[in-house]
Symmetry: C2
Subunit: 410 residues, 2 copies
Amino acid sequence: MFAEIITIGDELLIGQVVDTNSAWMGQELNKIGIEVLRIVSIRDREEEIIEAVDNAMKRVNIVLVTGGLGPTKDDITKQTLCKYFHTELIFSEEVFENVKRVLAGKIPMNALNKSQAMVPKDCTVINNPVGSASVSWFEKDNKVLVSMPGVPQEMTTVMTESVLPKLREKFQTDVIMHRTFLVQHYPESILAEKLEPWETALPESIKLAYLPKLGIIRLRLTGRGQNKTEVESALNDEQAKLEAILGDDIFSEEDIPLEVIVGELLKKKNLTVSTAESCTGGSIAARLTSIAGSSEYFNGGIVAYSNEVKMNLLHVSPETLEVYGAVSEQTVIEMVKGAMKALKTDCAVATSGIAGPGGGTPEKPVGTVWIAAGYKNEIRTYRQETNRGRAMNIERAGNNALLILRDLLK
Amino acid sequence: MFAEIITIGDELLIGQVVDTNSAWMGQELNKIGIEVLRIVSIRDREEEIIEAVDNAMKRVNIVLVTGGLGPTKDDITKQTLCKYFHTELIFSEEVFENVKRVLAGKIPMNALNKSQAMVPKDCTVINNPVGSASVSWFEKDNKVLVSMPGVPQEMTTVMTESVLPKLREKFQTDVIMHRTFLVQHYPESILAEKLEPWETALPESIKLAYLPKLGIIRLRLTGRGQNKTEVESALNDEQAKLEAILGDDIFSEEDIPLEVIVGELLKKKNLTVSTAESCTGGSIAARLTSIAGSSEYFNGGIVAYSNEVKMNLLHVSPETLEVYGAVSEQTVIEMVKGAMKALKTDCAVATSGIAGPGGGTPEKPVGTVWIAAGYKNEIRTYRQETNRGRAMNIERAGNNALLILRDLLK
């Protein structure tokens, strides 16, 4: 089953906004066996919207549209789709109640907000629990077009809660099952080489995908067939083979963020954690606390960007900084010890590095990051190398810090 | 002058990679008066590439293609474009020298790499100084198609150094100018209402767009015309009217992140800053340090998730926590003072709130966040309300903290 995604908004074409929605939608659609053939971004212009929609409706059975549903004049998707589907806008009391609920206590209702309650007459209106723009599900010649808001949180909520289940119900005949494995310690090409004999021998009904991301490779096995028990059993067989090849390098059999994996481990062991961050600048603490309930195991952290803070709050010795420098194994060891002591936790992670783009030296080029994880009296360290740009150097250092902590605790 | 961008690669359609190239290209093309009409992402399939290219060549004069130029089997853009333009691949000694130079010391040359030196016969070949895939510039009926590598660093380099200058030279273009204004203190619909009379009276040549994001609204004015002075003068007129309506609520006349705005202000005033974060969990520090050079003004931060850390490291008094609770104006005031003292900075921001989804009470429902910014002896506070989900509550609190700090410093 094929789909096309159309994202609408001048801001996409002039490059003010990066379209992250389509990638997320592509992933989720794939999981239910719907393949995205094309992603098209167009401007808020009636004739361009109609042309793109018409072409897509000719090519595929499922067209997912995002954007152009705001209350302001530049947003014309709703009216334009009414024109395309030969219908009109009518006032929906139910949607109006939702708009009132969503806006309650935030902003006073005005005519523009009220216009959000106008919905296409000949379509199924899907409620948007997190925003004031509703979702329109059109059907024509057994094909479906769904118009959703472009705000990522609203789109992902309505997709997850309503659109994906409805699409699955309408279009999916095959059973499709996924298993995802998170793998560490491998660059992609080396892992691909190691897995090649097994991959080549995979049955027709099972597909393997590599999804590498900064020190972590996600491997996704997708099984497809008519019979659930058969698909499940084929996946079990291949999973067993994969586990025999990779062993402990598979650090999770669920596609969940590292901060969740580490959080679960800390909860299970009843341990507390803290962070001492230089180059990662608070991003590891932010990741740990992005998880609801993290206050159970996360006490706090120190972002020690200056050497003075490293000395004053983490008690890194001036001699260590003088002799080995801030970016050194010795410094991160003292940082991790300092964090456990100052924040009174059972374990901690620490980072210090040159995130770039400036600040590199021949011995410590941009991209060099020292990382440490400590648990009681044991400390492990890791030197991260190669420069992938500031943002990715920081994110990868966070991944490595959490991976090392997990290895230490497990 | 209109362009279309075609990005090629299965990884885009299954959501493995977010297409950040197109946004960058859209921005750069706009700057030289070329408007992107459409961005299309398609799979590595010959018939789909030919269809997309052919449609684009019919619609616009400039087609920019990225991706599918790697040495592996799945990359077929080069061969497919040869087919479309009725030409063939020939070996280029010059490109081969570049491939050798780029790969030297990294990976050994093999047959696949050598295939990178095969280039379309009837096209202008543009050298790629940072990668092994060359750039092909095709012309047909006075229209141009440029095929570039999809690796962002390679694409941006060849665009900047060769493609944009060549496009500018070849096409006589309209002048297109953008002005973006960042506005605070307004929900979108209230702002739209306030601006309506002015918006309705805008001349044909000027368009307004609203781009709201968690406490901030970006307003973009786009002017278009044949004559630079005229476009500029029309924009100046409208900008003056907008500024008269919104005054200080416009906090930036450039579309840059808040952490950059605050960072520039701190540098200009030669001040240092620190953070004391509870519910934002280090994310404000992470934002501040995401900017290269932030070590000039950012000393460090304390993530005080537990009350114990608030007391021990930020010296919040136990009585304050007991009487007013951790989520209170009194607590964030003490936190901000504690941060300035412990981290020895001129100013600081602090946050404490209920990010959710749990932890709310009738007096302090989920979404309540107390925020403070302090500069020497002055402290400003703000109570953020309404729940938009954990991640957005945190991001919005970060926005508000940086906005309050900026107001305090400016």
